[in-house]
């Protein structure tokens, strides 16, 4: 699985039309003689047979030495490691926020199944689920940054501000509000829908009827018997979203010019920066695979019924 995914990461950039030549050589590529062009290509190792490039790609993965970005002349590990914390800050915060809200709303909706609250929240969630990320992000920028001037519209910190300590933390938090808000709001529906469905199916179980028959208060039944069980499948949803957390922020990071991994990938793809494309694809691949692994191994621990 991993081998196939990693190989695809190598192939995809090269299958795309366009060449990184202009990127490596600079914009004066049209001014160069054929020899100069060849020298540039050779320098970047792009004249080697694909098999050789492929092998050296594996070598770079196994040794964790990804080489230099065509564009920036910077070691790629540095580029990636610089970006990872910012992406994690956005996605983990959004995961927690959307998880808590989605679970609460989903459980409540199922409890009041068919009621006014259930129907209206379901409609809102379905509408939200089909809302494009960039649209909501731009709406927030127009509202909270341009019109109201409350929050910064871009970046992870204030450029050139040289803040330290608490002031820096406050700055980071302020910059994270809009992207996290956008990301959270748009992640709620998935959690909500899965929680609502799973709560509904638990509510139909015999032991719930037993609990109700014992004369327990509905609230107690709900919290102690229903929600705990209903959470199980939702954990899987959340674990899988954790994997997507690395890749799912491309749009948000672009809209908010946020220096995370998604932005790095987006810029690398636009410029055909092969090494950076490979490295970011690899990070996403591994994150998704790990998340799957996590979900698979977590579930039996939480739910002994599925243990073999």
């Amino acid at each position: 699985m991993l081998v196939v995914a990693v190989s695809l990461n190598f192939a995809l950039p090269r299958l795309m039309p366009g060449s990184p030549l202009a990127l490596i050589a600079g914009v004066e590529v049209g001014e160069m003689t054929a020899e100069e062009r060849a020298a540039v290509t050779a320098d970047a190792g792009l004249d080697r047979p694909l098999v050789v490039q492929y092998l050296s790609y594996w070598k770079s993965i196994l040794t964790l030495d990804f080489g230099y970005s065509f564009r920036q002349g910077t070691p790629i590990e540095e580029l990636v490691l610089d970006r990872v914390p910012w992406t994690l800050l956005l996605t983990l915060t959004a995961l927690v926020v959307s998880g808590v809200i989605g679970i609460a709303l989903g459980a409540f909706a199922a409890w009041r199944r068919g009621g006014k609250w259930d129907v209206s929240s379901l409609a809102v969630m379905i509408a939200l689920e089909s809302t494009p990320q960039f649209w909501l992000g731009m709406l927030f920028i127009a509202l909270f940054s341009v019109s109201l001037g409350w929050l910064p519209s871009f970046g992870a910190t204030t450029a050139g501000a040289d803040l330290t300590g608490l002031a820096w933390l406050a700055d980071v938090a302020e910059h994270a509000v809009l992207p996290v808000l956008t990301l959270s709001i748009l992640s709620i529906p998935a959690v909500y829908l899965s929680m609502r469905y799973s709560t509904l199916s638990v509510l139909g179980e015999d032991y719930i009827r037993t609990a109700q028959a014992k004369g327990l208060r509905p609230r107690t039944v709900m919290l102690h018997h229903v929600v705990r069980t209903a959470l199980l499948p939702v954990t899987t949803v959340l674990a899988l979203r954790l994997g997507w957390a690395f890749g799912g922020t491309v749009v948000i990071e672009t809209v908010f010019s946020y220096p995370g991994l998604g932005r790095l990938m987006y810029d690398a793809v636009s410029a055909r920066d092969y090494p950076v494309m490979q490295a970011t694809f690899l990070v996403f691949t591994i994150a998704v695979l790990l998340a799957n692994l996590l979900a698979d191994s977590l579930y039996p621990r939480l739910d002994p019924r599925v243990r073999v």
Binding site: L23, V27, M32, R37, D43, R71, R263, Y266, D267
Partner: protein
């Protein structure tokens, strides 16, 4: 002793999202330019500032002469920290700069430069003739690139004394001053002699030493840069103390930040409909002026009937350029000239007429035997419909609209056009594979454009039309005509300014006649800014206000 002019391609290049592209380069690059004070939009505001925050939209890497990424704004930012021997002035003409005097020999093979007094590097070391000699040798020995190419014609650099350098050329180059002297940054020998691999030079205390008005003090590629003014600058203390450059992913983000007051200006020409919007805010203004950046309709002259000049001319006649300017650019563009040269250029030949005449176009097509025999509105060529695919970069909304309008206009004279929007890289690959015209081309019709530098140096006109790929290195239409070739070769070598002007005029007339491409229009540069922070812009004709000239005091201007 010939005249200063012009530089080969390069400079302000485009780029939307993309770093790439001397070629298909996207929307408004280059600069909005000063094309004459009478054209310049209202510009003004604070003439000094403590700090100016500038938005950019492309990833730039480390800002050294060896590692910057794009021509515009990358090189313009890099040149804040560096200087060249000459510097173009507001009119786009090279003037003495680090070199106080520049003397060319009569045969055009030797240049004697004497350096200005009292110029020092950011670390306090004096800038000497040895640094200039070192720079020449270092670029020549280093990896290929803009400056290595520029130095290709310099065979020898000798320091006669502390402040005098003599450069020897292999062949005379009438554009040497603008193309090389006013372009190549001088490097500090005591810094760069220790750097063996300039391509991966990191940002640190040693690589950020230049002689320019600003010193780069913080570099976080992909995120932001900080420049501090160099109070000892030899042309006077810069007008703004600190420049903070912030990178955005797209224009929408930067425009929002400009409107919310988070940045003060941006190094990207805004789209035409934004001009009035920004001015309408009451707090922002726009510095607007014609620029040399070109927008072209190019065709593959190997594909029949584009191999016939009459047919190409008919296409040019069928296109209503003024309507394109009015409808798509809301008037914020200058109509392209059939002879290629921008009307604001000193080289512009007024006798070249640009006409819109669909009837004449239809007549030319009839004469070529291209008639509509099945009355479906589209003419036929050897029985097959006269229909072509028009490629346009999908990241450029304005060009997509242009393409649609052009499709309609050509349809009116019976030429079928199907617009295909493709990714910019894909377009580059079709029109200019490998950025090397000898690799051929794989398209019928395409929307294309060259940077402002393609007009700033009149010598560049030859590279668009010459058959020989060494001279015609930008000839993406594969056009070939002996008479044009003769004129192009002359333009490339004629040292006498008056004679060269005559050649340039003749070549413009020839281009208008032969129509190797259709020059549609030149989008005006339009840069939003906050006048209460800073607004004392200095525009260079055709290339705009986003250069270091805007930050150099009046008495220090070239």
């Amino acid at each position: 002793m010939f005249h200063r002019r012009i530089s080969r391609a390069g400079a302000p290049v485009a780029a939307l999202v993309a770093v790439l592209a001397l070629g298909a380069c996207g929307s408004g690059d280059g600069g909005g330019g000063g094309g004459g004070a009478e054209d310049a939009g209202p510009a003004g505001g604070a003439s000094t500032a403590e700090s100016l925050r500038i938005g950019i939209m492309s990833e730039e890497g480390n800002l050294t002469p060896h590692t910057y990424a794009t021509g515009f704004p990358g090189l313009n930012l890099t040149m804040l920290s560096y200087d060249s021997l000459m510097q173009v002035d507001e009119n786009g003409q090279p003037q003495p700069w680090l070199a106080e005097t520049v003397e060319g020999s009569a045969d055009g093979l030797t240049y004697t430069l004497s350096l200005a007094d009292g110029v020092s590097w950011h670390d306090g070391e004096p800038l000497t003739a040895e640094d200039v000699v070192f720079s020449v040798d270092y670029y020549k020995a280093g990896p290929p690139g803009r400056f290595a190419t520029a130095m290709g014609n310099v065979t020898q650099a000798v320091a006669q004394d502390e402040s005098t350098v003599v450069l020897t050329l292999a062949t005379p180059d009438p554009s040497f001053e603008i193309r090389v002297l006013a372009d190549v940054p001088v490097l500090a020998e005591h810094i760069w002699s220790g750097i063996a691999d300039p391509d991966v030079a990191p940002f640190d205390e040693s690589t950020n030493v230049g002689s320019g008005p600003y010193r780069l003090v913080e570099s976080d590629p992909g995120v932001s840069y900080s420049f501090e003014a160099n109070p000892e600058y030899f042309r006077g203390e810069p007008k703004v103390d600190e420049l903070v450059v912030v990178q955005f992913a797209d224009e929408a983000g930067a425009t929002a930040a400009l409107r919310s007051g988070e940045i003060d200006t941006m190094m990207r020409s805004i789209s035409p409909e934004q001009i009035d919007v920004l001015r309408g805010t009451g707090t922002l203004d726009v510095v607007e002026a014609p620029e040399y950046t070109t927008t072209l309709l190019v065709f593959n002259t190997a594909v029949a009937p584009f191999d016939q000049a009459e047919f190409r001319r008919a296409v040019g006649l069928a296109v209503d350029r003024q309507r394109l300017v009015d409808d798509v650019f809301l008037g914020a563009a200058v109509v392209g000239n059939a002879g290629w040269v921008h009307p604001d250029s000193p080289w512009y030949d007024e006798s070249v007429e640009t006409v819109h005449d669909p009837e004449q176009a239809a007549g030319l097509l009839d004469d070529l035997g291209l008639t509509d025999s099945d009355s479906d509105g589209i003419r036929e060529l050897d029985g097959a419909p006269l229909s072509f695919e028009l490629l346009v970069a999908s990241n450029n909304a304005l060009r997509m609209r242009l393409a649609e309008l052009i499709g309609e206009q050509l349809g009116e004279v019976g030429i079928g056009v199907e617009v295909s929007s493709v990714e910019m890289q894909t377009l580059d690959d079709a029109v200019w594979p490998g950025y090397d015209v000898t690799q051929g081309r794989n398209y019928d019709l395409a929307m294309w454009g060259w940077s402002a530098a393609s007009q700033a140096d009149i010598g560049q006109m030859a590279s668009l039309v010459a058959t020989d790929p060494a001279l015609g290195n930008l000839n993406v239409t594969g056009y070939s005509d002996p008479e044009t070739d003769a004129l192009a070769a002359q333009l490339d070598t004629e040292l006498d300014p008056a004679a060269r002007e005559g050649v340039a005029d003749q070549l413009q007339q020839r281009i208008a006649e032969e129509a190797p491409f259709v020059s549609l229009l030149h989008p005006n540069g339009a840069y939003g800014y906050n006048p209460s922070v800073f607004g004392d812009w200095v525009s260079i004709t055709g290339t705009g206000p986003m250069t270091k000239l805007s930050f150099i005091p009046d008495d220090g201007q070239p």
